[in-house]
Amino acid sequence: MSMVRTVGAPHRRQVLWWAFLMHRVSGVLLALFLPFHFLVLGFAIKGDATLDGFLAWTENPLVKLAETGLFLLLAVHLAGGLRLLALELLAWRSWQKNMAALAAGAALAGALLFLGVAW
């Protein structure tokens, strides 16, 4: 039997829960991306040509979109992490909601900057 009798989990409808979810999901996705990132850079051992072959592939618009996503993930995880450090280590309790909003804003701004420069 499930102990949960609540549909839709309204207790999650608050800023800090969403801040948690963004931090966790971005973290998991970054952790999954990391080995591929390292493997690709490892191509450089085999010479410029292999790495360049891969880099040519990244000119693909779809790949660029994915890269923008990665940039966003890193920015989100950084901003969310700084929020969490402030919250737990400095105990900025009354500020937490503002911090969460600020973190999301900073991450978004960073990603848009990337998008603007990349395209």
Binding site: G27, L34, L41, A44, D52, A75, L84, L85, V117
Partner: protein, 111 residues
């Protein structure tokens, strides 16, 4: 008790986060600069080859990221997959070690 272990793991997670905060900012800025005019292996390698600063920067980054990712995945596995206990701990430790080794190999390739 394992209170001390958990306290140190928690501290390691936060400490690696503190170490990585400036590194991530540096990384993001480098990305923005590097992608202007397209990416090439030559460009990347001309920046990093034989450069002690970038070697230290990315070496530290890889070490912190491997530890941080493994500890994060440990919590996710425990909560969302119900995977906890000694086997889970050894598994994420192996994942972290693998990430660090792959990362060092990548750093070695571009330096």
């Amino acid at each position: 008790m394992n209170a001390r272990r958990e306290a140190y793991l928690y501290a390691a997670q936060r400490l690696t986060a503190l170490i990585m905060a400036p590194l991530v900012i540096g990384h993001l800025i480098t990305i923005i600069i590097a992608i202007q005019g397209g990416l090439s292996a030559e460009e990347i390698l001309s920046r990093t080859s034989g450069n002690i600063f970038w070697a230290a920067f990315y070496g530290l980054f890889v070490l912190a990221a491997g530890i941080h990712a493994a500890l994060g995945l440990r919590m996710v596995a425990a909560e969302w997959l119900g995977f906890r206990g000694p086997l889970a701990n050894w598994t994420v430790a192996a994942v972290g070690l693998l990430l660090i080794l792959l990362g060092f190999r990548a750093v070695g390739a571009v330096i």
